[in-house]
Symmetry: D2
Subunit: 346 residues, 4 copies
C-alpha cells in the first residue's frame, strides 16, 4: 500500500481526493492537513464521509509528514505550495501539486500573472505538466507533477489534435469556457453565496484570467511557435463541470471531412477521452463525477471555422481525478484504478 498525504484537505479538491483515495485499492491516506481545521475530523467538515474515514486534520508540519507518506498531494492555494513542494522533493518524495506554482515553465510569466515571486526555480525545472494525454511518458518518470488547471485541461484537450495537425490558423483562437461554482473553491464570500450565484450567469476575469498563459504554454509547445489565445471564463449556477467552446479558423488546406477522424485517432487509446459521434456535443452532466473529457466538434463552412466543444468535471479531470490518474501512472498502477465510477446521472 502506498502511503499518501494530502496537504490542504478542507477544500473541494481536497475532499474529492479523500473520496477517491479512500476507495483506491493500492493507497492508504496517512495524513490530511488543514491549518484552520486542525484537530477536527474530516467527516465533521464533510459529513458525506461519515463511516468512510476516521482521519483527523493536522497542521502542515513538513518534518512530521515526511515520516508518514511517500507521495504528497498538494491542494494548497497558489504560492503556498512552493516551499513545501521543494522540501518534499529534496527529501526524495513524490509530489503531485494541484496549485499553479509549478505549471508555468517560465518563472517570469508566473510572476507576471500571479503577482508573487517564484523562489524555487531549480525545482520548477524538474516539474512535469501532468496532462497524461500529452506527457504520459514523462509523468511515468517524474517525481514532481504540476497538475493542470481546470480550464486549461478542457481547452488544451480540445485544441491539441488541431494544433498538432496544423489545420487551424493559430492567430484566431477563441476559448469561451463556463464553469460550475465548485471552481471557485469552498469559500465564505458573499459573491459565491447561493443567492448571488443562483439564477445568474456572468463572465469574469475578462481578458485577464491566470489560466491564459498555461493554455498558451502548452499549445505553443505543440505548435512549435508561440500562440496567444482569447480566453473568457464564465460562472454558472451548477456545482460541477466545465464546458469549453473553442473557435479557430481553418487553414485552406484543411479537409473538413477528416477532422473528426484526426480527433478520434489522436485519442483512440486514451481511457479518459471520449470523442463523440458526428453531430453530438457534450454536456457537463454526462461526465459528472468522472475523469472523462467528452469532445464534440463541427465545422462552420460559412465562416471556415472549426468549433470544438469539450466537457470535463472540474473537480475530477480538472483537478483531483487527474491527480489520481497521474499518481497511477507514476506508480505503475493500472491507469484507471480508482477512477472507474460511471457518471451520476441525473
Amino acid at each position: 500500500m502506498l502511503k499518501v498525504a494530502i496537504c490542504g484537505g478542507s477544500g473541494y479538491a481536497g475532499g474529492e481526493l479523500i473520496r477517491l483515495l479512500s476507495s483506491h485499492p493500492f493507497v492508504k491516506i496517512t495524513a490530511v492537513t488543514s491549518e484552520k481545521s486542525a484537530g477536527k475530523t474530516v467527516s465533521n467538515l464533510f459529513p458525506h464521509l461519515i463511516n468512510h474515514t476516521n482521519l483527523v486534520y493536522e497542521p502542515l508540519n513538513k518534518h512530521r509528514l515526511l515520516t508518514k507518506a511517500d507521495l504528497f498531494f498538494m491542494a494548497l492555494p497558489h504560492a503556498e505550495s512552493q516551499e513545501a513542494v521543494d522540501f518534499f522533493l529534496r527529501n526524495r518524495k513524490k509530489i503531485i501539486d494541484l496549485s499553479a506554482d509549478y505549471r508555468l515553465r517560465s518563472p517570469e510569466i508566473y510572476e507576471e500573472w500571479y503577482k508573487t515571486p517564484h523562489k524555487f526555480r531549480a525545482t520548477l525545472r524538474k516539474a512535469v505538466y501532468g496532462l497524461p494525454e500529452l506527457y504520459r511518458k514523462k509523468i511515468a518518470k517524474a517525481s514532481l507533477i504540476a497538475n493542470p488547471g481546470c480550464y486549461p485541461t478542457g481547452a488544451i484537450l480540445g485544441l491539441y489534435p488541431a494544433v498538432k495537425a496544423k489545420i487551424i490558423d493559430t492567430d484566431s483562437i477563441v476559448i469561451d469556457s463556463t464553469s460550475g461554482t465548485t471552481g471557485a473553491g469552498r469559500k465564505s464570500e458573499t459573491a459565491f453565496s447561493y443567492c448571488e450565484v443562483n439564477e445568474g450567469f456572468k463572465a469574469y476575469s475578462v481578458a485577464a484570467h491566470r489560466h491564459t498563459p498555461e493554455i498558451e504554454q502548452e499549445l505553443s509547445a505543440v505548435n512549435g511557435k508561440d500562440i496567444k489565445v482569447n480566453f473568457t471564463p464564465h460562472l454558472a449556477p451548477y456545482d460541477r463541470g466545465i464546458l469549453t467552446t473553442i473557435y479557430a479558423r481553418l487553414k485552406k488546406n484543411a479537409e473538413a471531412g477528416k477532422i473528426l477522424d484526426i480527433y478520434k485517432n489522436t485519442y483512440a487509446k486514451e481511457p479518459f477521452v471520449r470523442v463523440l459521434a458526428e453531430g453530438k456535443f457534450p454536456n457537463v452532466k454526462n461526465v459528472r463525477g468522472t475523469n472523462l473529457c467528452d469532445i464534440g466538434l463541427a465545422v462552420n463552412k460559412r465562416t471556415e471555422t472549426l468549433v470544438v466543444v469539450t466537457a470535463i468535471d472540474n473537480l475530477m479531470k480538472g483537478a483531483s481525478g487527474q491527480a489520481v490518474h497521474n499518481m497511477n501512472i507514476m506508480m505503475g498502477f493500472k491507469e484507471t484504478t480508482g477512477l472507474e465510477a460511471i457518471a451520476l446521472f441525473p
Copy 2:
C-alpha cells in the same frame, strides 16, 4: 384605451405579455388565443395571474378578432404567423409579430434557414425590424413590426457601436451566447424536463442556429457590406436571461481607450441600455424582469481583440418587453410605460 389581442398566449412570451399589458395604463387586453387551451381561463394556465385577469383563451378566429382589437401581438410558432399577420395588416391593424416570420428581409434566406416557404413577400417588404435602438423612427411609423429574436437582440446591441464606428475586423466576429431555459419555450419535451437541464450545461445548434442570419442581416446593414459571424448558443440551468460574449479583432487604427466612450455615446439616450463602468461586466441576474440590456467591455491588448459582454432578460428585452416597447413607440406612448419595474434581485 388601446384594445390589444394576443395570438398565442399560452407560452412564456404570451404569459409575459399578459403580465406586462395587464399593468399597462393605456392598454386593455380584449382577447388571448390558444387552440389547445381554448375555453380555459388564463389563470388556470398561469396561477400567478389569479385575481389579475379574468381572460379566457379562445381559438384564433381571425374575423372575430378583427372586431375586438386594434393592435395584435403575435406569439405563435414560426410559420404559423405568416398568414394571420398578412390578414390583420390588410385589415389596417397594427401588428407586432414575435415570431421569426417577418424578421429576415430576404425570403430566400428565410426559406433556407426555416425550411418552409414564405408566402407573403409583399407583406414582408412592409415589416420593420423592431429593435428601437436601431430603428426607432421607422418603428414609429410602421404597422408591422418584426420583433427581434432573443439572441440577436443581445448580439446586435453588443456589436452595433463597434461596427458603426468601423473599429473591428468584421471577418473575425465570434458570438458566444448562453440562454436560460425559458428560451426553449413552455414545452413538454423530455430534453427540457427539470432533471435533464439542471446541473447541466451544453452547446446546441452548433454552427447552425437560425438566429445567425438575423444577426448577420442587421450587422451587415450597419456595416454597409456583408458580415458573417460565428454564433454558438448554450443552454444553462436558470430561468431567464441571455448573456452574450462577443469577440472581434480590433483594427489597427482603433484606440482602445476610446471604445467605452463610443459605446456610452451611442446609447446615451437609450432608456433600456446601461453601458457599465470600466471593469464592470453584466450578469443576467441584474436585468431579470426588466427590459434592460446591460453592456460591459474590455480590450485584450495581448490579442488586439475587443470583448463585449451583454445581458438581457430573454422574455423581456428578448421578446415581450421589447414588443411592449415597440407598441409604446408606435402609439406615441412614453417609451418606458409599463416597463418601469426594477429587476427582482435576488
Copy 3:
C-alpha cells in the same frame, strides 16, 4: 412626499425596501445606512439598481437621521434595533422594525429565545405586531410596528381562520416550513455558499427555532388560551419563498365541507391573501416578487386532520413588502400602493 430612512440597507430585506420604495409614488428615500459599506453607492452593492437610485450608504448616526426622515425602516440584525427604535420613537418618529426586537410582547420570552436582554420594556409595550390581516386597525394608529417574521407570517395566516373558528384541536398543531435561501440573509458563510446549498435539502433548528414563540404568541391571542406548536424550518435550493404545510386534528364538531368557506370568508376583503379553489395548492413560484399569501387546504378524512398549505415570498410578504403595506396603513395611503407588481413567472 413622505421622507423615509432605511437603517440597515445592505442586506436582502434592505435591498428589497430600496427597490419597493424607489417606485412608491408617495415616498422619498432620504437615507440608507450601513456601517460596513458607508461611503459606497447603493448601486455598487446592488447593480440591479444602477440608474434607479443615487443613494450612498451612510453610518447609522441617529441624530443626523432624525433631521432627514419621518418614518424609519429598521432592517438591522436582532438586538441591534432596540436602542435606535426607542430613540426614534421618543423623538416622535414612526418606525417599522423588521427585526425581532419588538415582536414578542413578553420580554422574558424574548430573552429566553434570543439570549440577550430587552432593555426597552416601556417601548416594547407600545409596539403593534404588524400583521395587517389581524391588526389593521391598531396598525393605522401605531407609531411603532414590529414587522412579523417570515415563517410566522405564513404560519399564522394559515392557522388564523381555523383557530378563530375553533375547529381544530390546538394541542395537535404541526407546522412544517421550507424557505428559499434569501431567508438566511446576504451572508459570507460557507454554509450558505452556492455549492453547499445547491442540490441539498435539510431541516435546521429542529425543535428550537426562534420564530416558534412568535407563532405561539399570535395563535394564543386568537385562541384565548395558550397554544404550543411543533415547528420545523427547512432550507431549500431556491432564492425566494416560504411554503408552510400545517397539520391540525379537526374537532368532532368541525364540518369538513365548510372549512374552505371559513377561510374564504375570513380573507374575503384582504388585498394580499388568495384562498385557492378546492383541490388547488400554492407554489412559492406563483407569489415571487409579490406581497401575496396563497392558501390551499384539504381535509384528510382518514385521520380527521386539516392540512393547510401557504406560500409567501419571504422578502416581500415575509419582510419588506409587508413593511411597505404597514407603512401604507399607518400613513393612510391606499394599501396596495407600490405593491401592485404581478409575480415574475417563471
Copy 4:
C-alpha cells in the same frame, strides 16, 4: 456471473440499475427492455453510459427473455408489472419488482389506491416487502421482492425504532416529505419541465398520496395494530434525494434521553443506515449517489414530541440501490457489493 434482465430500462430507475449493475462484479446484464426505444442503444438515451455498455433496448418479449436471464428487475409503471411478474415467477425466475404492484399485501387496498384490479392474488401472497432492515431473512429466501416505494423507505426507517419500542402515540404521526424531481420519473410533461419546477416549491397529492397505505401497512405490522398516518409529499428543485421530517407525540413513559440509543441500537449492524450524533441532522446532499439512509432526531420537550429526520437518495435507497441490495441478499453476495460508492459531494 448472474444473468439479469431489466424490464423498463429507459427511465431514471432503469438507468440507475444499468449504472449499478454494469459495475457489479458478479452480474451480467443480458437484456434491457423498452417499447418506445426498442432498437436504440442504451447510450443513445443515456450518453453518460457511452463506453460503459453496448446494450440495445428490446421490446419486452417474455418468452424470449426467459432464455436470457435468471433474475429480473422490473422497472415498469404500476399495473404493467403484474402479469410479467407472475409469468417469470411461474417459470422459476427470481424477480425484484420496483413498481407498486406487489407491495400492498391487501389487494383491496391496492385496488382502492391504484384504481386498477389486482389479477394475481396468489402471486401477491408470495411477495416479500424488500426493506432489508425489516425483512432481511425473508428476502434471503424469497423469489419475488416488492421493492419499497421511495417515500415509504425514508418514512418507515425513520419510525421503525420508535414504533417497535412503543414510545410514541401512534395516532399522532405526521410525515412531511420532500423529494427531488427525479422522483417524478423521466417524463415529457410541462409540469415537470425545467422552468416550472425551478425556483418553485409545492405540496402535491395532499392527503391522497399512494404511498400512504404502504407506510401504514409496514408500521402497522411492526405495531401489531393499525396505524394511520398524515403524509404530505413536496416537490423541490433538485435532482436526487428525499428528506422526511416525522412528528410523533411521545408516550409518557418514554425517556427522551434514551431515544437516540434506541435508534443507534436498532441500526447498529446495518451497512446502509447512519444514525447521526446528537444535534446533527441529515441533508440529502450527503447521501447523493449512495444507498444510505441518514437519520437525525430531536425531542421537543415543550410539546413532548419526537422529531425524526431521514434522508435518502430516492433513485438509490429509494429504488435501484435498494433493488441491488435485495439482489445481493437473495443471491448470497456480500450485501454492499456494487453499492460501495461514496456520496458525490458537492
